[in-house]
């Protein structure tokens, strides 16, 4: 109840902010109050998860790293040519949206699920999806199960009172399978119970499954099944009413995806400046001047790739083979490689 009151209030505030900004945007297309504020402050205010391996958490030296963190660094690189000009503000699930509404942060890159309620009621916008997540199952390798459809009669450990629990019930009912649910108050307890053998399977979002797997006594004994039973498109969020800012965040992600598609990497981006391919020349700002229209320099995408890398590099470093999580790329592969990661062209 308390939560919904907060949301209504936040939405009201958004309406006030929102009513003033579009008029400004129409008369001066390249003016973004958020961009101006960021330039004045000399750093991007970015709300991140206080601790989610692979998406946003500080390392031994307290330096933030993760896929969401990289997106904020990409925006900062595009604006300042310096990926470190970001003020990372750890956000709890409770205060993340109000912090965005009040302007305390200007991008919320906190593995938030893109939902209608958040855009329609809370006055937010999700420019892109930078990670397609969904609920999956983890089982012991020795059970010799290769599909979630073989989980009939299984006992499943799950965290209580989450959408995860509801999705689980839907999945088993839809497939006419019997199962036993063993629910726990925290995900930590659920994982412990699974590790000690109280259940056959453990379920949560797929990225979480990989993160939990490395904590198990013997990680190699466990496999994540290929089925994904729910849609969890995770992405950054911005306030409504600043379309230019919305575009900057969106294109920062698109630049990373396009760079991967065109084979532009952190290592070869300087050579690629001499490329004759028109797409590469447009992306890196050698031809055309799209950056100007957003109020950022024309080599914005070059800066992003130079400082942060392309999407594939970021994924690999934080979540994939280059990290300890070793998450399969799965649906997050490029559309050219069988996934659904697709970016609009720079032209």
């Amino acid at each position: 109840m308390k939560k919904s009151v907060g949301y209504v209030f936040a939405a009201g505030m958004a309406a006030v902010i929102g009513s003033a900004a579009p008029a400004l945007a129409q008369t001066q297309p390249a003016k973004s109050p958020t961009l101006e504020k960021t330039l004045k402050a000399g750093a991007l205010s970015c709300g991140v998860n206080p601790g989610l391996a692979g998406f946003g958490m500080p390392d031994d030296k307290g330096v933030w790293a993760g896929l969401d963190v990289d997106l904020c660094r990409a925006v900062a690189a595009a604006i300042f040519n310096d990926p470190n000009k970001v003020k990372f503000i750890p956000m709890t699930a409770k205060d993340r949206f109000s912090a965005l509404q009040t302007g305390e942060i200007d991008v919320l890159a906190r593995n938030g699920t893109w939902t209608m309620q958040r855009e329609a009621e809370l006055g937010l916008l999700f420019p892109v999806t930078n990670y397609y997540d969904g609920q999956g199952f983890m089982v012991r390798r020795k059970l010799n199960i290769t599909s979630a459809l073989e989980l009939s009669q299984a006992s499943v450990c799950v965290q209580q009172g989450t959408t995860t629990e509801l999705n689980l019930a839907d999945f088993f009912r839809a497939n006419n399978m019997k199962y036993e649910v063993i629910a726990f108050a925290t995900s930590n307890e659920a994982v412990k119970a699974y590790d000690s053998g109280r259940c056959d399977a453990y379920t949560t979002d797929a990225s979480g499954l990989y993160a939990e797997r490395v904590k198990l006594t013997n990680a190699a004994e466990h496999v994540v099944l290929p089925e994904i039973i729910s849609k969890e498109p995770l992405g950054p969020a911005v306030r409504q009413g600043d379309d230019v800012w919305f575009n900057i965040v969106k294109w920062a992600h698109f630049a990373m995806v396009n760079a991967e598609e065109l084979g532009v990497t952190r290592a070869n981006v300087d050579e690629q400046l001499k490329s004759t391919k028109p797409e590469v020349r447009r992306l890196l700002g050698v031809e055309n001047k799209y950056g100007e229209f957003l109020g950022i320099p024309n080599d914005w995408a070059y800066r992003i790739v130079k400082h942060v890398g392309n999407y594939g590099e970021s994924f690999d470093r934080n979540l994939g083979a280059g990290s300890r999580l070793r998450i399969e790329r799965g649906v997050n592969r490029l559309w050219t490689k069988g996934g659904i990661m697709y970016a609009a062209p720079v032209r």
Partner: protein, 439 residues
């Protein structure tokens, strides 16, 4: 009769004392101690045996887990994840920097160390009962130290720079103000009146001067969003402790005041803040407050919980102090008034010294509770020590079954050392102050 005794030679005079005989074995030595303390009655014997059984059951695995099977050094979590491995101290060692400083830039941590060490030195000097110049240490700790610490930690001028003039006329005005302030302060100081006011004016000028030349030190700016770890826990606790006692004393006196408005306001504040859980105060400060005020006016994210914690502990302190005030018999007040002391003198010289000593256990109780309550700032996204431990355990390089426990054991050790230290210090102070009333 008496003459006879005086003249006659003594029959026997002991030349030396006989050697002490050892007490019977049944009354001294370890055996007697064990019998008297561990097995005096059948019930005690049973309890002793049960306790010994419990220790025999609990201690060996604990020692094995904590020390024998523990992993003392490892490059990553692989060794700690191996079956049979105990506590993972390698992980605590690797993350120690993060536990200490959070995200504070590593090349700048000397600033944190400088502030922490000088603060510790001042606190020890101030609290050491037989040290000389304790008043000076206290004055430095409560006035100069916070200003300099702020300047060193943030790298920004410890004076609101927007007050410093940039234009020529502004600087002229500023110079004029200086002359007036210093002249006024000097006059007041030498006439011997209002020394405190003079000191305050000199302090203000000095503060502005420090603020003016501070940027020339060239310290880089470190925003509070990077502060974290033990450093922030100590900061929150120190600010809470330092502010709660004076504010608490003022509120307690206000509540017992004869003046209705002062009394009403004190009661209102105390009851209102006491009626709200600390978590609510913190969430209110960090989630709701920004909704009510424009972004530019909104205080720093770390400052908000600091104010919340200080205010919260102050009202509890007020009630503890009020308990002490009520324990002072009316005769003390009447006696003080009879010798012609003013109200402030009476409070300062007669009532408060007795009242505060009476409630030392209560005060320290509040301090210890406050020290542990500082972990609550984590729920508003501040990386205090416990939050740093909670975050570090998720690092996939280390994550494993024993990682969380190792981190929490380390945290428990840290909190125990501090809380136990405070408790011992207060016991010592109690004994010193209660010399006249000891039983």
């Amino acid at each position: 009769m008496s003459d006879a005794i005086r003249t006659s030679t003594p029959i026997f005079v002991r030349e030396s004392m006989t050697a002490d005989r050892a007490p019977p074995v049944s009354n001294a030595g370890p055996a007697a101690w064990i019998r008297d303390n561990l097995f005096p009655t059948p019930l005690s014997s049973v309890i002793t045996l049960l306790a010994l059984l419990f220790l025999a059951w609990a201690l060996p695995p604990l020692v094995r887990w904590l020390f024998i099977d523990a992993i003392w050094s490892a490059p990553n979590g692989d060794l700690c994840r191996a079956p049979g491995a105990g506590a993972c101290w390698a992980y605590v060692w690797q993350k120690l920097g993060f536990f200490m400083y959070g995200s504070y830039p590593r090349e700048e941590v000397w600033r944190v160390n400088l502030v922490l060490l000088s603060g510790a030195a001042l606190v020890v000097w101030m609290l050491w009962p037989d040290a000389r110049g304790r008043g000076g240490a206290a004055l430095a700790f409560f006035t100069v130290y916070p200003v300099l610490a702020f300047g060193i930690l943030t790298g920004s001028a410890p004076f609101p720079t927007r007050w410093l003039p940039t234009s020529g006329t502004g600087q002229l005005l500023w110079a004029f103000l200086y002359v007036v302030l210093i002249a006024g302060a000097g006059t007041l100081f030498y006439t011997g009146r209002l020394t405190a006011l003079a000191m305050a004016m000199i302090g203000f000028v000095a503060w502005a001067e420090i603020g003016a030349w501070w940027p020339t030190l060239g310290l880089s700016h470190v925003g509070t969003n990077l502060w974290g770890g033990i450093f922030v826990s100590l900061l929150v606790a120190t600010v809470g402790i330092v502010f709660s006692l004076p504010i608490g004393i003022v509120l307690a006196l206000g509540r017992r005041s004869q003046m209705p408005i002062v009394r009403f306001l004190s009661v209102l504040l105390i009851e209102f803040v006491r009626g709200v859980p600390l978590i609510t105060v913190l969430v209110m400060a960090n989630t709701m407050l920004p909704l009510f005020v424009p972004q530019d006016w909104s205080p720093d994210r770390l400052l908000r919980p600091l104010i919340g914690v200080a205010l919260f502990s102050a009202v509890y302190m007020a009630e503890v102090v009020r308990g002490g005030l009520q324990a002072i018999p009316k005769g003390q007040y009447e006696g003080a008034m009879a010798v012609g002391l003013s109200w402030w003198q009476m409070m300062q010289l007669i009532v408060l010294p007795q009242a505060l000593v009476t409630v030392i256990p209560g005060i320290v109780n509040s301090f210890i509770a406050l020290f542990k309550d500082t972990t609550l700032v984590a729920i508003v996204g501040i990386f205090d020590f416990l939050k740093a431990v909670e975050t570090a355990r998720l690092d996939p390089v280390w994550a494993g079954p024993s990682i969380s426990t190792s981190g929490y054991v380390f945290a428990a050790f840290f909190y125990f050392v501090f809380c136990f230290g405070m408790s011992r210090y207060s016991l010592m102070m109690e004994r010193r102050h209660a010399a006249g009333r000891k039983r």
